[in-house]
Subunit: 140 residues, 2 copies
Amino acid sequence: MVDVVRRNTDYALRLMVNLARYHGNGPVSTRAAAKEEGVPYQLACKLMQKLHKSKLVKSRMGPKGGFSLGRDPSQISLREVVETIQGPISINRCLLAADACKRQHDCGARTKLAELQHYVRDFLDRITLDELLHNGREKE
Amino acid sequence: MVDVVRRNTDYALRLMVNLARYHGNGPVSTRAAAKEEGVPYQLACKLMQKLHKSKLVKSRMGPKGGFSLGRDPSQISLREVVETIQGPISINRCLLAADACKRQHDCGARTKLAELQHYVRDFLDRITLDELLHNGREKE
DNA sequence: CATATATAAGACTTACAAAGTCTTATATAT
DNA sequence: ATATATAAGACTTTGTAAGTCTTATATATG
């Protein structure tokens, strides 16, 4: 079995939604976010580093420091987070490079799978952090 | 990077399309199909065994033996082949069991990802082996 | 009936990548 | 000065996909 969204990506998503929840109230420490979201602390550190490199979060060092979202939660898509952590979303490896497969010329699957890949990417593009946040806390 | 369709699944798909190509002309030996589709022979054997267990192909032992499709190519979907080889298609492991995640009650991602998973499965349900075959050989 | 050709089954090994841990360095609020 | 936080990356563990090997069994055909 293969998950399109891996465990670490799931963790990163939770952390990002956590930051979204406290957006505007100053930085959130990794320790706090990790604890609240049930993510192993050391892993959370590494994930935050990746998210920082891709500018999805800003950091402030020192006490009272932590991470905060780089943009408004309505401007960060699920796909950005996913691809930051686990790389480009792929249906089949033959779709990641134009010349990845020499059989592609008489391959009936390629076109179909490319179509699906496009749909999936687009779907995740259209979901934003604030949607996830409001969706989840709707009932309260 | 994660491929929704793994390498072995890709191999199995090629083998199945090969059988579809010769459908009605008696069994195809694994050796022949593997060679024609560029699949390592021993791997092809294991894949054919899985396909046989799930009734997607019929086998005939002995010389002049080999495998043939269990049903007409128009009645075998891409999803059946994929799930026979690599198990259920999953967007996130939290979607595979009703109680896989205790956070699901206030999780905004779950609904969206379930929707996507449903779309992907349905998409692959609607593609059949004979479509793949005709798509690929259209130009000839 | 002997033999060559095919599948059947599963143990075993290898290779790779994800997940998780540990260590050291650096910045800053108080 | 010190405690608290991030920064960075080496390292270990674990899981699983991919690939190989071995032995058994069925059957067409001379």
